[in-house]
Protein backbone atom coordinates (compact mmCIF):
# COMPACT_ATOMS: atom_id res chain seq x y z
CA UNK A 1 0.00 0.00 0.00
CA UNK A 2 2.62 2.45 1.12
CA UNK A 3 4.66 1.63 -1.93
CA UNK A 4 1.73 2.15 -4.24
CA UNK A 5 1.04 5.55 -2.71
CA UNK A 6 4.66 6.50 -3.00
CA UNK A 7 4.68 5.60 -6.71
CA UNK A 8 1.40 7.46 -7.09
CA UNK A 9 2.87 10.57 -5.49
CA UNK A 10 5.88 10.43 -7.67
CA UNK A 11 3.82 10.04 -10.82
CA UNK A 12 1.69 12.94 -9.72
CA UNK A 13 4.71 15.14 -9.13
CA UNK A 14 6.19 14.17 -12.49
CA UNK A 15 2.94 14.98 -14.27
CA UNK A 16 2.72 18.41 -12.65
CA UNK A 17 6.33 19.09 -13.50
CA UNK A 18 5.82 17.91 -17.06
CA UNK A 19 2.88 20.22 -17.57
CA UNK A 20 4.61 23.24 -16.08
CA UNK A 21 7.83 22.76 -17.99
CA UNK A 22 8.49 24.78 -21.08
CA UNK A 23 12.22 24.47 -21.64
CA UNK A 24 13.52 21.78 -23.96
CA UNK A 25 14.95 18.55 -22.65
CA UNK A 26 18.61 19.50 -22.22
CA UNK A 27 19.77 16.17 -20.83
CA UNK A 28 18.06 14.32 -23.65
CA UNK A 29 19.71 16.53 -26.25
CA UNK A 30 23.15 16.07 -24.72
CA UNK A 31 22.63 12.31 -24.64
CA UNK A 32 21.51 12.17 -28.23
CA UNK A 33 24.38 14.33 -29.40
CA UNK A 34 26.98 12.27 -27.54
CA UNK A 35 25.57 9.13 -29.17
CA UNK A 36 25.84 10.74 -32.56
CA UNK A 37 29.42 11.73 -31.73
CA UNK A 38 30.41 8.11 -31.01
CA UNK A 39 29.02 7.10 -34.38
CA UNK A 40 30.74 9.97 -36.14
CA UNK A 41 34.08 9.06 -34.51
CA UNK A 42 33.87 5.62 -36.13
CA UNK A 43 33.06 7.16 -39.49
CA UNK A 44 35.84 9.72 -39.02
CA UNK A 45 38.36 6.93 -38.38
CA UNK A 46 37.21 5.20 -41.54
CA UNK A 47 37.64 8.47 -43.43
CA UNK A 48 41.11 9.14 -42.01
CA UNK A 49 42.15 5.57 -42.80
CA UNK A 50 41.15 5.82 -46.43
CA UNK A 51 42.62 9.29 -46.90
CA UNK A 52 45.87 8.24 -45.20
CA UNK A 53 46.28 5.11 -47.31
CA UNK A 54 45.35 6.79 -50.58
CA UNK A 55 47.70 9.72 -49.93
CA UNK A 56 50.60 7.41 -49.08
CA UNK A 57 50.06 5.32 -52.17
CA UNK A 58 49.09 8.16 -54.50
CA UNK A 59 52.53 8.64 -56.04
CA UNK A 60 52.85 5.03 -57.16
CA UNK A 61 49.22 4.62 -58.19
CA UNK A 62 49.14 7.68 -60.42
CA UNK A 63 52.78 7.58 -61.49
CA UNK A 64 52.88 4.06 -62.91
CA UNK A 65 49.60 2.20 -62.35
CA UNK A 66 50.24 -0.35 -65.09
CA UNK A 67 53.80 -0.99 -63.96
CA UNK A 68 52.68 -1.52 -60.37
CA UNK A 69 49.92 -3.99 -61.25
CA UNK A 70 52.21 -5.86 -63.66
CA UNK A 71 55.43 -5.63 -61.63
CA UNK A 72 56.95 -8.18 -59.30
CA UNK A 73 58.55 -8.27 -55.86
CA UNK A 74 61.87 -6.49 -55.70
CA UNK A 75 64.45 -5.92 -53.02
CA UNK A 76 64.51 -2.11 -53.42
CA UNK A 77 61.48 0.13 -53.22
CA UNK A 78 62.59 2.44 -56.04
CA UNK A 79 62.96 -0.42 -58.50
CA UNK A 80 60.75 0.52 -61.48
CA UNK A 81 59.67 -3.12 -61.80
CA UNK A 82 58.30 -3.30 -58.25
CA UNK A 83 54.68 -4.43 -58.27
CA UNK A 84 51.94 -6.75 -57.10
CA UNK A 85 51.44 -9.11 -60.04
CA UNK A 86 52.47 -12.28 -58.17
CA UNK A 87 50.22 -11.32 -55.28
CA UNK A 88 47.26 -10.76 -57.61
CA UNK A 89 47.79 -14.19 -59.12
CA UNK A 90 47.95 -15.80 -55.67
CA UNK A 91 44.84 -14.03 -54.43
CA UNK A 92 42.99 -14.94 -57.63
CA UNK A 93 43.72 -18.63 -57.06
CA UNK A 94 42.77 -18.44 -53.40
CA UNK A 95 39.45 -16.94 -54.46
CA UNK A 96 38.97 -19.84 -56.91
CA UNK A 97 39.59 -22.38 -54.13
CA UNK A 98 37.14 -20.60 -51.84
CA UNK A 99 34.47 -20.48 -54.55
CA UNK A 100 34.90 -24.10 -55.61
CA UNK A 101 35.18 -25.65 -52.14
CA UNK A 102 33.45 -23.44 -49.60
CA UNK A 103 30.42 -22.30 -51.60
CA UNK A 104 28.94 -25.69 -52.58
CA UNK A 105 29.79 -27.33 -49.26
CA UNK A 106 28.44 -24.41 -47.27
CA UNK A 107 25.21 -24.03 -49.22
CA UNK A 108 24.65 -27.80 -49.15
CA UNK A 109 25.09 -27.88 -45.38
CA UNK A 110 22.71 -24.95 -44.99
CA UNK A 111 20.01 -26.69 -47.09
CA UNK A 112 20.37 -29.85 -45.03
CA UNK A 113 20.22 -28.01 -41.72
CA UNK A 114 17.15 -25.99 -42.66
CA UNK A 115 15.14 -28.46 -44.74
CA UNK A 116 16.22 -32.01 -43.96
CA UNK A 117 17.72 -32.08 -40.48
CA UNK A 118 15.66 -34.01 -37.95
CA UNK A 119 14.99 -32.14 -34.72
CA UNK A 120 17.38 -34.18 -32.62
CA UNK A 121 20.61 -33.87 -30.72
CA UNK A 122 22.83 -34.63 -33.68
CA UNK A 123 21.40 -31.80 -35.77
CA UNK A 124 21.63 -29.39 -32.83
CA UNK A 125 25.20 -30.45 -32.24
CA UNK A 126 26.11 -29.78 -35.87
CA UNK A 127 24.54 -26.31 -35.69
CA UNK A 128 26.33 -25.43 -32.47
CA UNK A 129 29.52 -26.77 -33.96
CA UNK A 130 29.23 -24.49 -37.00
CA UNK A 131 28.55 -21.43 -34.84
CA UNK A 132 31.61 -22.23 -32.77
CA UNK A 133 33.77 -22.72 -35.87
CA UNK A 134 32.78 -19.22 -36.98
CA UNK A 135 34.33 -17.89 -33.78
CA UNK A 136 37.63 -19.77 -33.97
CA UNK A 137 40.52 -17.30 -34.50
CA UNK A 138 41.94 -17.36 -38.01
CA UNK A 139 45.41 -18.14 -36.74
CA UNK A 140 44.14 -21.50 -35.44
CA UNK A 141 43.03 -22.36 -38.97
CA UNK A 142 46.56 -21.46 -39.98
CA UNK A 143 47.94 -23.97 -37.47
CA UNK A 144 45.59 -26.62 -38.86
CA UNK A 145 46.77 -25.85 -42.40
CA UNK A 146 50.41 -25.92 -41.31
CA UNK A 147 50.14 -29.35 -39.70
CA UNK A 148 47.65 -31.04 -42.01
CA UNK A 149 48.24 -29.64 -45.50
CA UNK A 150 51.85 -28.50 -45.29
CA UNK A 151 53.27 -31.30 -43.15
CA UNK A 152 51.12 -34.44 -43.39
CA UNK A 153 49.57 -34.06 -46.85
CA UNK A 154 52.72 -32.69 -48.47
CA UNK A 155 52.51 -35.20 -51.31
CA UNK A 156 49.06 -34.01 -52.35
CA UNK A 157 49.27 -30.29 -51.77
CA UNK A 158 52.97 -29.77 -52.43
CA UNK A 159 53.68 -28.37 -48.97
CA UNK A 160 53.70 -24.60 -48.66
CA UNK A 161 51.74 -24.12 -51.85
CA UNK A 162 48.83 -22.09 -53.09
CA UNK A 163 46.72 -25.26 -52.84
CA UNK A 164 47.39 -25.54 -49.10
CA UNK A 165 46.59 -21.85 -48.67
CA UNK A 166 43.42 -22.06 -50.76
CA UNK A 167 42.04 -25.08 -48.91
CA UNK A 168 42.87 -23.51 -45.53
CA UNK A 169 41.01 -20.31 -46.40
CA UNK A 170 38.07 -22.26 -47.86
CA UNK A 171 37.76 -24.05 -44.50
CA UNK A 172 38.04 -20.69 -42.72
CA UNK A 173 35.09 -19.09 -44.54
CA UNK A 174 32.92 -22.23 -44.68
CA UNK A 175 31.02 -21.50 -41.43
CA UNK A 176 30.23 -17.95 -42.60
CA UNK A 177 28.79 -19.33 -45.85
CA UNK A 178 26.67 -21.86 -43.92
CA UNK A 179 25.31 -19.34 -41.41
CA UNK A 180 24.38 -16.68 -43.98
CA UNK A 181 22.83 -19.25 -46.34
CA UNK A 182 20.85 -20.72 -43.43
CA UNK A 183 19.41 -17.29 -42.65
CA UNK A 184 18.42 -16.79 -46.27
CA UNK A 185 16.74 -20.22 -46.47
CA UNK A 186 14.94 -19.72 -43.17
CA UNK A 187 13.31 -16.56 -44.56
CA UNK A 188 11.48 -18.47 -47.33
CA UNK A 189 7.73 -18.28 -46.58
CA UNK A 190 6.14 -21.54 -45.52
CA UNK A 191 3.30 -20.96 -47.99
CA UNK A 192 5.63 -21.27 -50.97
CA UNK A 193 6.82 -24.66 -49.77
CA UNK A 194 3.33 -25.93 -49.05
CA UNK A 195 2.17 -24.72 -52.45
CA UNK A 196 4.90 -26.77 -54.12
CA UNK A 197 3.99 -29.87 -52.12
CA UNK A 198 0.34 -29.25 -52.98
CA UNK A 199 0.98 -29.60 -56.69
CA UNK A 200 2.84 -32.86 -56.09
CA UNK A 201 6.47 -31.78 -55.91
CA UNK A 202 8.95 -34.03 -54.17
CA UNK A 203 11.12 -32.48 -51.48
CA UNK A 204 14.06 -31.83 -53.76
CA UNK A 205 11.85 -30.44 -56.54
CA UNK A 206 10.31 -28.12 -53.98
CA UNK A 207 13.73 -26.95 -52.79
CA UNK A 208 15.05 -26.48 -56.31
CA UNK A 209 12.01 -24.68 -57.66
CA UNK A 210 10.90 -22.62 -54.65
CA UNK A 211 13.41 -22.41 -51.81
CA UNK A 212 16.62 -21.83 -53.76
CA UNK A 213 15.29 -19.16 -56.16
CA UNK A 214 13.72 -17.25 -53.28
CA UNK A 215 16.80 -17.53 -51.08
CA UNK A 216 19.26 -16.88 -53.91
CA UNK A 217 19.88 -13.16 -53.24
CA UNK A 218 20.49 -13.83 -49.55
CA UNK A 219 22.81 -16.72 -50.32
CA UNK A 220 24.68 -14.61 -52.87
CA UNK A 221 25.12 -11.84 -50.29
CA UNK A 222 26.63 -14.34 -47.88
CA UNK A 223 29.00 -15.77 -50.45
CA UNK A 224 30.16 -12.28 -51.44
CA UNK A 225 30.83 -11.36 -47.81
CA UNK A 226 32.77 -14.54 -47.18
CA UNK A 227 34.75 -14.05 -50.38
CA UNK A 228 35.82 -10.60 -49.28
CA UNK A 229 36.78 -12.03 -45.89
CA UNK A 230 38.78 -14.74 -47.63
CA UNK A 231 40.82 -12.50 -49.90
CA UNK A 232 41.62 -10.08 -47.06
CA UNK A 233 42.81 -12.71 -44.60
CA UNK A 234 46.55 -12.79 -43.99
CA UNK A 235 47.33 -14.64 -40.75
CA UNK A 236 46.71 -18.23 -41.93
CA UNK A 237 48.67 -17.53 -45.11
CA UNK A 238 51.75 -16.55 -43.13
CA UNK A 239 51.55 -19.92 -41.39
CA UNK A 240 50.98 -22.07 -44.43
CA UNK A 241 53.97 -20.31 -45.87
CA UNK A 242 53.35 -17.50 -48.29
CA UNK A 243 57.03 -16.86 -48.85
CA UNK A 244 58.86 -13.91 -50.18
CA UNK A 245 62.09 -13.20 -51.88
CA UNK A 246 62.48 -16.44 -53.75
CA UNK A 247 59.57 -16.35 -56.13
CA UNK A 248 61.38 -17.76 -59.14
CA UNK A 249 59.32 -16.58 -62.04
CA UNK A 250 56.29 -14.48 -62.59
CA UNK A 251 53.66 -16.91 -63.75
CA UNK A 252 50.48 -16.00 -65.57
CA UNK A 253 46.99 -16.12 -64.12
CA UNK A 254 46.09 -19.50 -65.59
CA UNK A 255 49.30 -21.46 -65.05
CA UNK A 256 47.68 -24.49 -63.46
CA UNK A 257 51.02 -26.19 -63.02
CA UNK A 258 51.97 -23.76 -60.27
CA UNK A 259 49.14 -24.60 -57.90
CA UNK A 260 51.21 -27.00 -55.88
CA UNK A 261 54.54 -25.28 -56.31
CA UNK A 262 56.33 -24.21 -53.17
CA UNK A 263 56.20 -20.45 -53.60
CA UNK A 264 53.32 -18.08 -53.68
CA UNK A 265 52.30 -14.60 -52.72
CA UNK A 266 48.95 -13.01 -51.94
CA UNK A 267 47.75 -9.43 -51.63
CA UNK A 268 47.44 -9.28 -47.82
CA UNK A 269 50.82 -10.95 -47.40
CA UNK A 270 52.65 -8.62 -49.77
CA UNK A 271 51.32 -5.73 -47.67
CA UNK A 272 52.74 -7.25 -44.47
CA UNK A 273 56.01 -7.93 -46.25
CA UNK A 274 56.39 -4.36 -47.47
CA UNK A 275 55.35 -2.84 -44.15
CA UNK A 276 58.15 -4.83 -42.53
CA UNK A 277 60.60 -3.86 -45.25
CA UNK A 278 59.81 -0.20 -44.64
CA UNK A 279 62.04 -0.38 -41.57
CA UNK A 280 65.17 -0.61 -43.70
CA UNK A 281 63.82 1.10 -46.83
CA UNK A 282 61.10 3.70 -46.05
CA UNK A 283 59.97 3.74 -49.67
CA UNK A 284 58.25 0.40 -49.09
CA UNK A 285 55.62 2.12 -46.91
CA UNK A 286 54.31 3.85 -50.03
CA UNK A 287 54.34 0.56 -51.94
CA UNK A 288 52.39 -1.08 -49.10
CA UNK A 289 49.85 1.76 -49.16
CA UNK A 290 49.42 1.38 -52.91
CA UNK A 291 48.91 -2.38 -52.51
CA UNK A 292 46.33 -1.68 -49.78
CA UNK A 293 44.41 0.58 -52.15
CA UNK A 294 44.34 -2.22 -54.73
CA UNK A 295 43.14 -4.73 -52.10
CA UNK A 296 40.58 -2.30 -50.67
CA UNK A 297 39.10 -1.67 -54.11
CA UNK A 298 38.35 -5.40 -54.43
CA UNK A 299 37.13 -5.85 -50.84
CA UNK A 300 34.96 -2.73 -50.69
CA UNK A 301 33.42 -3.40 -54.11
CA UNK A 302 32.52 -6.96 -53.06
CA UNK A 303 31.11 -5.78 -49.75
CA UNK A 304 29.20 -2.89 -51.27
CA UNK A 305 27.68 -5.23 -53.84
CA UNK A 306 26.59 -7.59 -51.05
CA UNK A 307 25.08 -4.80 -48.93
CA UNK A 308 23.32 -3.27 -51.94
CA UNK A 309 21.89 -6.64 -52.99
CA UNK A 310 20.57 -7.33 -49.52
CA UNK A 311 18.97 -3.91 -49.09
CA UNK A 312 17.47 -4.07 -52.57
CA UNK A 313 15.73 -7.39 -51.96
CA UNK A 314 14.73 -6.50 -48.40
CA UNK A 315 12.93 -3.45 -49.75
CA UNK A 316 11.20 -5.33 -52.56
CA UNK A 317 9.83 -7.96 -50.23
CA UNK A 318 8.82 -5.51 -47.55
Amino acid sequence: MARARLVGDRTNRMMVQAMQRRSTDVRGRVFQISLLVTLLISLFILGVLIVDVVMDGWGILTGRPGGFLGGTMRSLSDDPKLGVHQALVGTFWIAVFVAVLAFPLGIGAAIWLEEYAPKNRIARFIELNIRNLAGVPSIVYGLLGLLLFVKHLRDVTGGKSIASAGITLAILVLPIVVITAQEAIRAVPQGLKEGAYGVGATKWTMIRSQVLPYAAPGILTGTLLSMSRGIGEAAPLLLVGAVSGRLGRDSGFFDLGDINEEAFMAMPVIIVEWVQNSGRDPGFAAAAAAAIVVLLVFVILTNAAAIFLRNHFEKRRG
Partner: protein, 316 residues
Protein backbone atom coordinates in the same frame (compact mmCIF):
# COMPACT_ATOMS: atom_id res chain seq x y z
CA UNK B 1 -2.15 -54.32 -64.49
CA UNK B 2 0.59 -52.11 -65.81
CA UNK B 3 1.20 -49.02 -63.75
CA UNK B 4 2.83 -46.23 -65.63
CA UNK B 5 5.42 -43.85 -64.29
CA UNK B 6 2.82 -41.38 -63.18
CA UNK B 7 1.14 -43.99 -61.04
CA UNK B 8 -2.12 -43.80 -62.96
CA UNK B 9 -3.13 -46.96 -64.78
CA UNK B 10 -4.34 -47.19 -68.36
CA UNK B 11 -7.97 -46.78 -67.42
CA UNK B 12 -7.20 -43.52 -65.59
CA UNK B 13 -7.94 -44.89 -62.12
CA UNK B 14 -5.76 -44.08 -59.15
CA UNK B 15 -4.14 -46.92 -57.30
CA UNK B 16 -2.19 -47.12 -54.08
CA UNK B 17 0.98 -46.95 -56.15
CA UNK B 18 -0.03 -43.57 -57.44
CA UNK B 19 0.47 -42.16 -53.97
CA UNK B 20 3.99 -43.49 -53.53
CA UNK B 21 6.82 -42.09 -55.55
CA UNK B 22 8.34 -44.37 -58.12
CA UNK B 23 11.42 -46.13 -56.83
CA UNK B 24 13.86 -44.37 -59.11
CA UNK B 25 12.73 -41.00 -57.92
CA UNK B 26 12.72 -42.11 -54.28
CA UNK B 27 16.30 -43.28 -54.70
CA UNK B 28 17.27 -39.94 -56.17
CA UNK B 29 15.64 -38.09 -53.27
CA UNK B 30 17.47 -40.22 -50.74
CA UNK B 31 20.76 -39.70 -52.54
CA UNK B 32 20.29 -35.93 -52.48
CA UNK B 33 19.34 -35.95 -48.82
CA UNK B 34 22.36 -38.04 -47.89
CA UNK B 35 24.85 -36.00 -49.86
CA UNK B 36 23.53 -32.78 -48.34
CA UNK B 37 23.84 -34.42 -44.93
CA UNK B 38 27.43 -35.28 -45.78
CA UNK B 39 28.23 -31.63 -46.53
CA UNK B 40 26.86 -30.73 -43.10
CA UNK B 41 29.15 -33.33 -41.54
CA UNK B 42 32.19 -31.64 -43.12
CA UNK B 43 32.00 -28.99 -40.39
CA UNK B 44 32.20 -31.66 -37.72
CA UNK B 45 35.19 -33.15 -39.49
CA UNK B 46 36.87 -29.73 -39.54
CA UNK B 47 36.31 -29.27 -35.81
CA UNK B 48 37.71 -32.71 -35.14
CA UNK B 49 40.77 -31.93 -37.27
CA UNK B 50 41.35 -28.61 -35.48
CA UNK B 51 41.19 -30.29 -32.08
CA UNK B 52 43.36 -33.17 -33.24
CA UNK B 53 46.03 -30.90 -34.74
CA UNK B 54 46.21 -28.67 -31.66
CA UNK B 55 46.22 -31.50 -29.15
CA UNK B 56 48.57 -33.90 -30.88
CA UNK B 57 51.42 -31.38 -31.14
CA UNK B 58 50.65 -29.53 -27.93
CA UNK B 59 50.70 -32.84 -26.06
CA UNK B 60 54.29 -33.49 -27.11
CA UNK B 61 55.14 -30.04 -25.81
CA UNK B 62 53.33 -30.54 -22.51
CA UNK B 63 54.99 -33.88 -21.90
CA UNK B 64 58.51 -33.02 -22.91
CA UNK B 65 58.98 -29.38 -21.98
CA UNK B 66 60.92 -28.28 -18.96
CA UNK B 67 58.15 -26.40 -17.12
CA UNK B 68 60.61 -23.93 -15.67
CA UNK B 69 60.99 -22.50 -19.15
CA UNK B 70 57.22 -21.89 -19.41
CA UNK B 71 57.39 -19.38 -16.53
CA UNK B 72 60.47 -17.33 -17.27
CA UNK B 73 61.64 -13.89 -18.34
CA UNK B 74 60.11 -13.75 -21.79
CA UNK B 75 59.24 -15.42 -25.08
CA UNK B 76 62.41 -16.69 -26.77
CA UNK B 77 61.17 -19.90 -28.40
CA UNK B 78 64.21 -20.50 -30.54
CA UNK B 79 66.35 -20.55 -27.39
CA UNK B 80 64.00 -22.83 -25.52
CA UNK B 81 62.37 -20.17 -23.31
CA UNK B 82 58.62 -20.35 -23.70
CA UNK B 83 57.21 -17.94 -21.13
CA UNK B 84 53.49 -18.20 -21.79
CA UNK B 85 52.62 -15.42 -19.32
CA UNK B 86 54.42 -12.85 -21.51
CA UNK B 87 52.07 -13.72 -24.34
CA UNK B 88 48.91 -13.97 -22.25
CA UNK B 89 49.51 -10.66 -20.43
CA UNK B 90 50.17 -8.89 -23.73
CA UNK B 91 46.98 -10.42 -25.18
CA UNK B 92 44.98 -9.23 -22.19
CA UNK B 93 46.42 -5.72 -22.43
CA UNK B 94 45.59 -5.45 -26.12
CA UNK B 95 42.10 -6.86 -25.56
CA UNK B 96 41.47 -4.50 -22.64
CA UNK B 97 42.50 -1.43 -24.64
CA UNK B 98 40.48 -2.63 -27.60
CA UNK B 99 37.35 -2.95 -25.47
CA UNK B 100 37.91 0.50 -23.95
CA UNK B 101 37.79 1.84 -27.50
CA UNK B 102 35.13 -0.43 -28.98
CA UNK B 103 32.78 -0.61 -25.97
CA UNK B 104 31.68 3.04 -25.84
CA UNK B 105 32.00 3.65 -29.59
CA UNK B 106 30.13 0.51 -30.60
CA UNK B 107 27.43 0.76 -27.95
CA UNK B 108 26.88 4.47 -28.60
CA UNK B 109 26.58 3.90 -32.33
CA UNK B 110 24.17 1.01 -31.70
CA UNK B 111 21.91 3.04 -29.40
CA UNK B 112 21.85 5.89 -31.86
CA UNK B 113 21.05 3.66 -34.83
CA UNK B 114 18.42 1.66 -32.98
CA UNK B 115 16.64 4.36 -30.94
CA UNK B 116 17.34 7.79 -32.38
CA UNK B 117 18.27 7.71 -36.06
CA UNK B 118 15.50 8.46 -38.51
CA UNK B 119 15.09 5.79 -41.21
CA UNK B 120 16.81 7.92 -43.85
CA UNK B 121 19.84 8.63 -41.64
CA UNK B 122 20.02 4.97 -40.63
CA UNK B 123 19.97 3.88 -44.23
CA UNK B 124 23.09 5.90 -45.03
CA UNK B 125 25.03 5.39 -41.79
CA UNK B 126 24.57 1.65 -41.38
CA UNK B 127 26.15 0.59 -44.71
CA UNK B 128 29.18 2.76 -43.91
CA UNK B 129 29.59 0.92 -40.61
CA UNK B 130 29.29 -2.36 -42.52
CA UNK B 131 32.04 -1.25 -44.89
CA UNK B 132 34.22 -0.60 -41.85
CA UNK B 133 33.42 -4.15 -40.73
CA UNK B 134 34.72 -5.49 -44.04
CA UNK B 135 38.12 -3.82 -43.94
CA UNK B 136 40.86 -6.49 -43.80
CA UNK B 137 42.92 -6.53 -40.64
CA UNK B 138 46.21 -6.02 -42.54
CA UNK B 139 44.88 -2.63 -43.57
CA UNK B 140 44.14 -1.72 -39.95
CA UNK B 141 47.57 -3.06 -39.02
CA UNK B 142 49.18 -0.68 -41.50
CA UNK B 143 46.96 2.14 -40.20
CA UNK B 144 47.81 1.38 -36.57
CA UNK B 145 51.53 1.42 -37.30
CA UNK B 146 51.65 4.38 -39.71
CA UNK B 147 48.95 6.66 -38.32
CA UNK B 148 47.72 5.66 -34.86
CA UNK B 149 51.20 5.12 -33.41
CA UNK B 150 52.81 8.42 -34.47
CA UNK B 151 49.70 10.65 -34.37
CA UNK B 152 47.58 9.32 -31.52
CA UNK B 153 49.82 7.32 -29.20
CA UNK B 154 52.91 9.49 -29.43
CA UNK B 155 51.14 12.83 -29.08
CA UNK B 156 48.38 11.91 -26.60
CA UNK B 157 50.08 9.37 -24.37
CA UNK B 158 53.71 10.18 -24.94
CA UNK B 159 54.45 6.68 -26.13
CA UNK B 160 56.86 5.69 -28.87
CA UNK B 161 56.06 6.65 -32.46
CA UNK B 162 56.79 3.07 -33.46
CA UNK B 163 54.51 0.16 -32.70
CA UNK B 164 53.41 -0.60 -29.15
CA UNK B 165 50.73 -2.64 -27.42
CA UNK B 166 48.75 0.58 -27.03
CA UNK B 167 48.78 1.35 -30.76
CA UNK B 168 47.87 -2.26 -31.57
CA UNK B 169 45.08 -2.22 -28.96
CA UNK B 170 43.52 0.91 -30.43
CA UNK B 171 43.75 -0.65 -33.89
CA UNK B 172 42.02 -3.82 -32.68
CA UNK B 173 39.41 -1.62 -31.00
CA UNK B 174 38.60 0.06 -34.31
CA UNK B 175 38.34 -3.39 -35.87
CA UNK B 176 35.73 -4.65 -33.38
CA UNK B 177 33.60 -1.48 -33.22
CA UNK B 178 31.29 -2.65 -36.04
CA UNK B 179 30.97 -6.06 -34.37
CA UNK B 180 29.88 -4.56 -31.03
CA UNK B 181 27.59 -2.12 -32.83
CA UNK B 182 25.80 -4.66 -35.00
CA UNK B 183 25.17 -7.29 -32.29
CA UNK B 184 24.07 -4.62 -29.77
CA UNK B 185 21.77 -3.03 -32.32
CA UNK B 186 20.16 -6.39 -33.08
CA UNK B 187 19.63 -6.93 -29.35
CA UNK B 188 17.94 -3.54 -28.91
CA UNK B 189 15.83 -3.97 -32.02
CA UNK B 190 14.53 -7.23 -30.54
CA UNK B 191 13.07 -5.37 -27.54
CA UNK B 192 9.31 -5.19 -28.19
CA UNK B 193 7.93 -1.78 -29.21
CA UNK B 194 5.23 -2.15 -26.52
CA UNK B 195 7.82 -1.69 -23.76
CA UNK B 196 8.94 1.64 -25.22
CA UNK B 197 5.36 2.76 -25.73
CA UNK B 198 4.44 1.83 -22.18
CA UNK B 199 7.41 3.80 -20.90
CA UNK B 200 6.52 6.86 -22.98
CA UNK B 201 2.92 6.50 -21.86
CA UNK B 202 4.04 6.85 -18.26
CA UNK B 203 5.67 10.12 -19.18
CA UNK B 204 9.29 8.97 -19.46
CA UNK B 205 11.44 10.84 -21.88
CA UNK B 206 13.48 9.22 -24.58
CA UNK B 207 16.67 9.14 -22.46
CA UNK B 208 14.80 7.52 -19.59
CA UNK B 209 13.13 5.00 -21.91
CA UNK B 210 16.44 4.13 -23.51
CA UNK B 211 18.50 3.87 -20.33
CA UNK B 212 15.93 2.35 -17.97
CA UNK B 213 13.80 0.22 -20.28
CA UNK B 214 15.49 -0.67 -23.55
CA UNK B 215 19.03 -1.27 -22.29
CA UNK B 216 18.02 -3.47 -19.32
CA UNK B 217 15.69 -5.45 -21.56
CA UNK B 218 18.47 -5.98 -24.10
CA UNK B 219 21.15 -6.79 -21.54
CA UNK B 220 21.73 -10.42 -22.59
CA UNK B 221 22.31 -9.37 -26.17
CA UNK B 222 24.66 -6.60 -25.08
CA UNK B 223 26.63 -9.06 -22.96
CA UNK B 224 26.86 -11.37 -25.96
CA UNK B 225 28.14 -8.47 -28.08
CA UNK B 226 30.90 -7.69 -25.59
CA UNK B 227 31.95 -11.31 -25.11
CA UNK B 228 32.07 -11.97 -28.85
CA UNK B 229 34.13 -8.80 -29.26
CA UNK B 230 36.57 -9.87 -26.52
CA UNK B 231 36.97 -13.25 -28.16
CA UNK B 232 37.56 -11.63 -31.52
CA UNK B 233 40.11 -9.22 -30.05
CA UNK B 234 42.01 -12.07 -28.37
CA UNK B 235 42.20 -13.91 -31.68
CA UNK B 236 43.13 -10.93 -33.84
CA UNK B 237 46.51 -11.48 -35.38
CA UNK B 238 47.66 -9.12 -38.08
CA UNK B 239 47.20 -5.82 -36.24
CA UNK B 240 49.22 -6.94 -33.22
CA UNK B 241 51.78 -8.64 -35.44
CA UNK B 242 52.35 -5.47 -37.47
CA UNK B 243 51.85 -2.75 -34.84
CA UNK B 244 52.62 -4.57 -31.58
CA UNK B 245 56.18 -3.31 -31.59
CA UNK B 246 58.03 -6.59 -31.18
CA UNK B 247 59.47 -9.06 -33.63
CA UNK B 248 60.33 -12.70 -33.01
CA UNK B 249 60.99 -12.40 -29.28
CA UNK B 250 59.70 -10.39 -26.34
CA UNK B 251 60.76 -9.72 -22.78
CA UNK B 252 57.93 -9.86 -20.24
CA UNK B 253 56.22 -6.50 -19.80
CA UNK B 254 52.93 -5.26 -18.45
CA UNK B 255 53.27 -1.75 -19.81
CA UNK B 256 51.01 -0.90 -22.74
CA UNK B 257 53.50 1.66 -24.02
CA UNK B 258 56.09 -0.97 -24.74
CA UNK B 259 56.16 -3.48 -27.52
CA UNK B 260 55.47 -7.12 -26.86
CA UNK B 261 54.05 -10.25 -28.46
CA UNK B 262 50.51 -11.46 -27.94
CA UNK B 263 49.63 -15.15 -28.28
CA UNK B 264 48.62 -14.65 -31.91
CA UNK B 265 51.62 -12.50 -32.79
CA UNK B 266 53.93 -14.97 -31.04
CA UNK B 267 52.65 -17.81 -33.22
CA UNK B 268 52.87 -15.77 -36.40
CA UNK B 269 56.33 -14.34 -35.91
CA UNK B 270 57.69 -17.76 -35.04
CA UNK B 271 56.09 -19.56 -37.96
CA UNK B 272 57.03 -17.16 -40.72
CA UNK B 273 60.33 -16.01 -42.02
CA UNK B 274 62.02 -19.33 -42.42
CA UNK B 275 61.05 -22.33 -44.46
CA UNK B 276 60.74 -24.55 -41.46
CA UNK B 277 60.28 -23.69 -37.87
CA UNK B 278 63.68 -24.50 -36.47
CA UNK B 279 65.41 -23.90 -33.19
CA UNK B 280 65.38 -25.86 -29.97
CA UNK B 281 63.67 -29.22 -30.14
CA UNK B 282 60.20 -28.13 -29.13
CA UNK B 283 59.89 -24.89 -31.10
CA UNK B 284 57.44 -26.32 -33.63
CA UNK B 285 55.32 -27.88 -30.89
CA UNK B 286 55.27 -24.63 -28.90
CA UNK B 287 53.24 -23.05 -31.72
CA UNK B 288 50.48 -25.55 -31.13
CA UNK B 289 50.67 -25.19 -27.36
CA UNK B 290 50.06 -21.44 -27.63
CA UNK B 291 47.39 -22.12 -30.24
CA UNK B 292 45.67 -24.53 -27.88
CA UNK B 293 45.62 -21.97 -25.05
CA UNK B 294 44.14 -19.40 -27.42
CA UNK B 295 41.61 -21.86 -28.80
CA UNK B 296 40.39 -22.91 -25.35
CA UNK B 297 40.02 -19.27 -24.22
CA UNK B 298 38.07 -18.13 -27.29
CA UNK B 299 36.00 -21.31 -27.34
CA UNK B 300 34.88 -20.79 -23.75
CA UNK B 301 34.01 -17.14 -24.46
CA UNK B 302 32.02 -18.09 -27.56
CA UNK B 303 30.06 -20.72 -25.66
CA UNK B 304 29.14 -18.18 -22.97
CA UNK B 305 28.12 -15.64 -25.62
CA UNK B 306 26.00 -18.26 -27.32
CA UNK B 307 24.08 -18.89 -24.10
CA UNK B 308 23.34 -15.17 -23.81
CA UNK B 309 22.05 -15.00 -27.38
CA UNK B 310 19.90 -18.05 -26.70
CA UNK B 311 18.42 -16.29 -23.68
CA UNK B 312 17.40 -13.30 -25.82
CA UNK B 313 15.60 -15.60 -28.24
CA UNK B 314 13.83 -17.32 -25.40
CA UNK B 315 12.48 -14.10 -23.91
CA UNK B 316 11.00 -12.39 -26.93
Amino acid sequence: MAVSNTGVDAAGDFSVESLTANPRQARKERLIRDSLGATALVSVLISALIIWSLFSEAWTFIVEVDWGSVWDIGWFPRRGIYDIKTLIVASLIVTGIAMMVAGPLGLGAAIYLSEYARPGVRKTLKPILEILAGIPSVVLGFFALQWIAPNLVASLFGGPAAGSLLAAGIGVGVLVVPLVASISEDAMKAVPMALREASSGLGARKVMTTMRVVLPAAVSGLMAAFIVAISRALGETMIVFMAGGAAQTAVYTHSAREGSLTMTAGITSLARGTDNVVGEGLTFQSLFFVGLVLFVLTFALNLVADRFVYKVREQY
